[in-house]
Symmetry: C2
Amino acid sequence: MTYHDSAQGRTAPLGAAPPLCSSTYTNALFHDVLPFWEQYSLDREVGGYFTCLTREGQVFDTDKFIWLQARQVWMYSFLYRVVAQRPEWLQVAQLGAGFLLKHGRDENKDWYFSVRRNGRPLVAAYNIFSDCFATMALAEYAAAAALSEHTGLGLNSGAVPGSGRTPGAGPSADEARTVALETYRRILPRRENPKGRFTKQVPEGRPLHAMALPMIGVNMAMVVQAALGNEAFSDIDLDPEQEITANVERVLGLHLDRQAQRLFERVGPNGTHPDCMDGRLLNPGHACEVLWMIMEAGDQLGRRDWIDTATEALLWTVEHGWDRQFGGLYYYQDAQGFPPEKLEADMKLWWVHAEAIYAFAAAYEYTGSEQHKHWLERLHTYSWERFADPDYGEWFGYLTRQGLPSNGLKGGKWKGCFHLPRALLKTGARLQRLEKAGILS
Amino acid sequence: MTYHDSAQGRTAPLGAAPPLCSSTYTNALFHDVLPFWEQYSLDREVGGYFTCLTREGQVFDTDKFIWLQARQVWMYSFLYRVVAQRPEWLQVAQLGAGFLLKHGRDENKDWYFSVRRNGRPLVAAYNIFSDCFATMALAEYAAAAALSEHTGLGLNSGAVPGSGRTPGAGPSADEARTVALETYRRILPRRENPKGRFTKQVPEGRPLHAMALPMIGVNMAMVVQAALGNEAFSDIDLDPEQEITANVERVLGLHLDRQAQRLFERVGPNGTHPDCMDGRLLNPGHACEVLWMIMEAGDQLGRRDWIDTATEALLWTVEHGWDRQFGGLYYYQDAQGFPPEKLEADMKLWWVHAEAIYAFAAAYEYTGSEQHKHWLERLHTYSWERFADPDYGEWFGYLTRQGLPSNGLKGGKWKGCFHLPRALLKTGARLQRLEKAGILS
């Protein structure tokens, strides 16, 4: 009995793009993407989520990857807090939050990278990102649970969707908040050595700063602030505004090279570019993602200069990152055009395009410029023609350079219920405002 | 100034395959592949080799990766010992052997994964493979140097090819032999925990055995035995025949599933197949490579049963690993047909095909069967049509599933002067014997 991957070996794209309007995004979110995850990912027996899902939703590996468990908890908690207090959304979040609190950490309170279906540990976290995603998940979950406790909606109010069974109560808001902040506090001193004992670079080697660190720094501070408010930061001796500012300035000051018009993934001290594969690495998807985070931070802190820089850098990123022969954004590039180290460099990934679409929706709202609108349309059309699966829903994760599914998977070790629904939700909201303002019809 | 990759974005294959005969292989080795590496890879200033080479041979990263440094030392030392005592081959080997001995190890005598051009360390070895390749390189170099010292040929007898300068003397046979055996001795107790402090799997996790370990065990024992003889093993308290047998039986007994007709990359204790991505992983290139090693071991130890099993398993491997839509062997597969974890799974890699060609040349010599001949021809035709670069020589490393160059690189972090020249040399020798015996015309 072997699985037949019906997406493999296709030679033509799948469909036409729906119109660029808010309802395309919100309909896809509420009537396609969320239902897919609710139907196939919930582990109603032991909690947590299955994320390794075939094109049709069949589970092909039951291991639980902490990044993805945490991201789905965050997603559903966020929906509950900002969209509507639907009990079923809170229950999905509870399923993962309970699993995370029960099985996610080792005896030192470090988060694992992965555990088995039943929670038995498998792989230790070899950097701080498991911890960062757990912090954001539990902070957002605490906000959702507090809202539910406050209003009496949701918590323990019914069955998990489709299960017919009543699950145990999810963790309390207090419990989740405590672990979120405890984890946040433990991350702070580890940021200069994020891999700890797993660091392969020798101390006397080539010093390189990875953009992922300031990027998750901005993201984490903004998520925790939105979920738990400024008062949470006094518990961990951090000033959220300073924290956001320091991390944004590290990206804009060190990683963004305004002369070269490139956002570099890794830089030497003072923003230098060591002439090696690592020093020349570009990651257009990561660039788009951090740039919208900087726009949102600029909006929140009244830093129009950040927004202006980020919206301009976004154009540099896609103008250089776009594949002029086959369309779509590359996954990795070498800034000098040399062959990239990663074999998958020329593939077209769902998250890269989802993040880019949202970044341009945001940029267009801030600038009103035709250039941002043009790229928003171009990314929208490419992505919906190629990634959306008209037969089984959700988006394909991985396309070849030519824009055809490399395989059919809807979820895996790295693709979960996160980038796509987050981008659909946020893009839908931006487009709705543009439509209300009469800027987009 | 950016590099333009002239291989990227091609839409048609490059050329026709030359005839399947020994001269195709030996001509390519001596008049194309070795000259390419001699022209572009030698770092005549500080020793060692550049391996990051564009399609045309331009160096795009000067870091030195110990696996590839060691493999090129092995290759040129082997040529010197078994083909002809050409001084220029020994000098190429000296260039790398001297660099390895001077810069390859840390203060604990563990080999690095990579160092900078000048030898300054960069990345620690995160498993035992750097050490294994260094052992094989220095053992083979010691044999070559001893031959040269004995005959007075080669050592210090002239300039590095094309440089016009006389290099320093290479390491002595004794020095290289001592470090080879010291490294081999240090590897033995580490084999049950090959990643040491870099192990991410938690002890209570899922126990999985990787085929790479018994595979390199067979390879290392046979290489050291051929280069230094049985007496070298008494220095490290190892019986070479026992060592080869134990490792072959681990592959054939645990990793080869005769019922499923698959060679599994990772297995649980007693050869079980945990139902997860790791437990279902197949790697057809690795399978072909270990199977020819087992055939050679069977030949040497008079174990016809190993040869029979390996030649049969080879057919299972390619019949399942061949892409029936676009041709070529997949890089990775899931034994149940589920989407593989690795994004590059459906790409066609030079080393996979070079190893498969040699494995079938060997199998055909052992069995004389039409099936092995058929696959030899099929692999030969596919590979020479697609991988060989008619414009700049050598082979492309990485093709898309459709069989077109994903980029033009001739060398990189993982592609050096090793798999292709080794396969060309060994295949040429097998085909020559088949031609002499009148089996191949």
